[in-house]
Structure formats: structure tokens, C-alpha cells
């Protein structure tokens, strides 16, 4: 079984052309990236604002509990059946638009609650200190709360990206491209090695994206917040209490 899958993966004709692995990887990444970017553009400001003002927390509760309980496959099929008959012409668009809507809906709760929880977890004394230094509300948000909240903000985006990649696989069921194609084409052709190879590639893609975002997190989070500072930069030790409390909260 494993040998057959390895054989499928090492057959050169599976790595080129419109049905090749690279093409489907790119499609998969495109669908996912568009959805995550839209979700971040919508949910990040809202989450930060709710965390900053402490108002409208019901939005977080509603999206976190309500949207997450909705079955993703049901949502996907519902939007496809609802929207695709109204989109004529340009081939793939009829399935792409409803799929993207669902992917955005799936990404929003994680981004929203990550941003909200991150800002909420900033210790009150840190916030008070920033105020005491004469910072205005907006400055406190941009220069203090967001940098301190970055680990949770990014972990929200990471889990959103993972869920989007997983659901984009199901997009192939409603006749979209992406790596899910191998799974469903293999299913209808009774070709298990192709299915397993597709599944393996999806898992690897998810892992690669998660690791990349983890790398981004390491790069952009201030060492004072993450607690990773070298011994030579010992003067940064003053930031340690902030780092400790933020990590506790996560």
C-alpha cells in the first residue's frame, strides 16, 4: 500500500500539466490565501476594537460558538446550491464564489477571538503605564496592546489558516480544483494510491503553512513579549513580566 503511494508520488507525469501536483498546490494556496486575507481584513480590526473598548463582546461569543457549530460541508453545499445557479459564464466562478464565502466564514471566528483574547490579556498595569506616559487611546492600541497581543493574534490566524486549508480540500467535492481533486478523482476511479497521495500532500501543505506562519510569528513578535532575548541584551529584562503574563493567558 505504502509502496503504491510512493510510486504514485514519484511518477513524473503526476507532477506536470493541468492535473499535476504543482498546479493543484498553487490552486489550493490561492483559494486559502484569498479567504484568510479577507477574513483578517474584516475580523482583525473588529477583534482589536472589541478587545480595546471591551464593548460588543457578544459578537465574539456569537461567532465563536455559533459559527463553529455549523457543519462546514453543509455550509459549503448550501452556498453552492444557493449561489451557483445565479452565476453564469466564466466556468469556475460559479463554484469559486460560494466556496470563498464559506472559507471566509470559517476563518473569521478564529481570527476574531485571537485578536480579542490577545488585547484582553494585556495586563491592566501595562495599559495604565502607557496611559500614564501620555499615550492616547489609539496610541495605546497600536504601540502597546497590538505588540503584546501579537502571539495570540498570529495563533488565531494560524488556526484559521489550518481550518481554511482543510475545508478548501472539500472544495474539490463541489468540483473546484486544489489538492482535494486527487482525493475525489481517486475515489471515483477506485484509485486508492491517488487518494492517499492527495491526502498526504494536503497534510504536508497544512504542516508547511503552519510552520511558515510559526516562523513569521518568531520574526515579528518582539523578543520582550515572547521572552526570547539573548543574555547580552539583558537590559530587555524589564519586559519579562509582560511576557510572562501574556504567555500565561495563552
Amino acid at each position: 500500500m505504502i509502496g503504491e503511494v510512493a510510486q504514485w508520488l514519484t511518477t513524473s507525469e503526476h507532477w506536470s500539466g493541468p492535473d499535476g501536483v504543482p498546479r493543484h498546490v498553487v490552486e489550493h494556496l490561492q483559494y486559502s490565501l484569498v479567504a484568510v486575507l479577507i477574513a483578517v481584513a474584516v475580523a482583525l480590526p473588529v477583534g482589536l476594537l472589541i478587545g480595546h473598548t471591551g464593548r460588543g463582546t457578544f459578537v465574539i461569543v456569537f461567532t465563536a460558538n455559533g459559527l463553529r457549530a455549523l457543519p462546514t460541508l453543509g455550509l459549503l453545499v448550501f452556498f453552492v446550491v444557493l449561489i451557483s445557479p445565479h452565476i453564469h459564464g466564466r466556468g469556475e466562478a460559479a463554484y469559486l464564489v460560494p466556496t470563498e464565502i464559506v472559507l471566509v466564514l470559517i476563518a473569521v471566528p478564529a481570527v476574531l477571538s485571537g485578536a480579542y483574547a490577545g488585547v484582553q490579556a494585556v495586563p491592566a498595569d501595562t495599559r495604565d503605564a502607557a496611559r500614564g506616559m501620555g499615550m492616547l487611546g489609539r496610541q495605546v492600541l497600536v504601540h502597546v496592546e497590538v505588540p503584546c497581543a501579537l502571539p495570540l493574534i498570529i495563533s488565531g490566524i494560524r488556526s484559521a489558516a489550518l481550518q481554511v486549508i482543510a475545508t478548501a480540500t472539500i472544495g474539490a467535492y463541489v468540483s473546484l480544483g486544489g489538492l482535494g481533486r486527487f482525493i475525489f478523482d481517486g475515489l471515483s476511479a477506485h484509485d486508492y494510491p491517488q487518494m492517499a497521495a492527495g491526502a498526504l500532500l494536503v497534510a504536508l501543505l497544512a504542516l508547511a503553512v503552519d510552520l511558515t506562519l510559526a516562523g513569521v510569528q518568531r520574526l515579528v513578535v518582539s523578543p520582550g513579549v515572547s521572552g526570547r532575548y539573548s543574555r547580552r541584551a539583558g537590559t530587555a529584562a524589564g519586559a519579562a513580566p509582560v511576557a510572562a503574563s501574556v504567555r500565561q493567558a495563552s
Binding site: 500500500m1 505504502i2 503511494v5 463553529r68 457549530a69 455549523l70 457543519p71 462546514t72 460541508l73 453543509g74 455550509l75 459549503l76 453545499v77 448550501f78 453552492v80 446550491v81 444557493l82 445557479p85 489550518l162 486549508i165 482543510a166 480540500t169 472539500i170 467535492y173 463541489v174 482535494g180 482525493i183 475525489f184 475515489l187 486508492y192 487518494m195 492517499a196 492527495g198 491526502a199 498526504l200 494536503v202 497534510a203 497544512a206 504542516l207 503552519d210
Partner: protein, 214 residues
């Protein structure tokens, strides 16, 4: 919507039963596996970080991929419901290990001291003190797992395992919204049902919390 449900009542109720079993069994199995693992992670400091990383790694695998890969590993048929149960058990364990470990670690220091002073040791201490105190935290983790399991079971319909997801695939093939809506409502109700059951169980297992809140 109601008409479609009544017209296909027996079939849909059968799917609901399967769905409940496919989503519920992994919760029980996952909890049974995560409890000793979480206890182990709590006991020795060097097991905790690798175990949490491994759990996070397992959680990154998309469900459909796991449903497809497992038959290759377990030598089961691709449509075998066992694959779904095993896959969801893996996710439940991945989610709960950390929750159990953190929950067991959240025993207040004075309670731990009192338990020691009263002579609680070893397993008696675990089942008599640490575990009951961790129940609310573990229940919260189980609720998350239950909700996501109900949604993930439906995904398995795309590769042909019979349950409520069948309403989605039927709706897609017929390009008809009604069965899809029925399916969504039933999935939500099922998730809600699991939620209520877990909350009730947690309430029964922690009578002292009611005493305090009263």
C-alpha cells in the same frame, strides 16, 4: 423543510443515530486515552512539551486527509466507519491531552496541601482530589471536541460513510437546498444535545460547585 423531513423520516433518523454514534464514541474513547496521557504529562516535566507539540501536529492534519490515509495504515476498507471513529478519536485526544494536563495542574495549592495532610496519596489522590477539581476544565475541552466532531463526521459523507452528511451530498446532487438545511439544523441540534449532556454530567460530578454558587 419539515415536509422533506417527514417524507424521509426513517432514513434521516437512521442517519442521525449513526451521526450521534460516530461523533459520540470518539469522545468517550478520546477521553479514556487522554486522561492517562494528561496525567503522565503532568507528572513529568519533560513529557509535557513534546506531548503538546505532537498533539498540535496531529491537529494540523485536515480531517478528509486523515479519513483517507487511515485505511492505508489500518488496512480497513475506505468506507469503513471505523476510519471515522479512529480519526476523530485522534483529534479528540490531541485536543484533550493538553486540557487534561493543564486542568490537573490547576489544583489550588491549599487544596493540594489539605489533601496531603489528610493522607491522600497516589491513585486515591488522583481520583479523589485532582480529577474532580479538573472536571470543569475537562468538560469545557470536551464541549469543543463534541462540536467539532459533529461537523467533521459530516465531512466523511463526501467519501460515502452514511450519516447526516448524506443530506448535504444529496442536496448537492439534486441542487436542492431543503435537505441541506435539514442537515444543518439536525447537526446543530445534535451538537447542542452533546453540549447539554456534557454540561449535565459535569454538574453531577461537581456537586460542591452548586453549594458554593448557592
Amino acid at each position: 423543510m419539515i415536509d422533506y423531513f417527514t417524507a424521509h423520516r426513517d432514513e434521516i433518523l437512521g442517519w442521525l443515530g449513526w451521526h450521534a454514534r460516530l461523533a459520540g464514541l470518539p469522545l468517550v474513547l478520546g477521553l479514556a486515552i487522554a486522561l492517562p496521557l494528561g496525567w503522565l504529562a503532568r507528572r513529568s516535566r519533560w513529557i509535557y512539551p513534546p506531548m503538546v507539540s505532537a498533539a498540535g501536529l496531529l491537529y494540523t492534519i485536515p480531517s478528509l486527509a486523515l479519513f483517507v490515509i487511515l485505511p492505508g495504515i489500518l488496512h480497513t476498507r475506505i468506507l469503513d466507519p471505523v476510519n471515522v471513529v479512529v480519526a476523530l478519536t485522534v483529534y479528540t485526544v490531541a485536543l484533550l491531552v493538553r486540557v487534561v494536563a493543564d486542568g490537573l495542574g490547576a489544583v489550588p495549592a491549599d487544596v493540594a496541601l489539605a489533601a496531603t495532610a489528610m493522607g491522600y496519596r497516589g491513585f486515591q489522590r488522583f481520583f479523589g482530589v485532582d480529577l474532580p477539581i479538573a472536571v470543569p476544565v475537562i468538560a469545557a475541552g470536551l464541549r469543543v471536541a463534541a462540536v467539532s466532531n459533529v461537523s467533521l463526521v459530516a465531512v466523511a459523507a463526501t467519501i460515502g460513510v452514511p450519516q447526516l452528511g448524506q443530506l448535504f451530498t444529496t442536496g448537492f446532487q439534486l441542487a436542492y437546498q431543503v435537505p441541506v438545511l435539514d442537515g444543518i439544523v439536525l447537526c446543530l441540534l445534535l451538537a447542542f444535545g452533546f453540549d447539554v449532556l456534557i454540561l449535565l454530567a459535569a454538574r453531577l460530578l461537581t456537586p460542591w460547585r452548586r453549594a458554593v454558587s448557592r
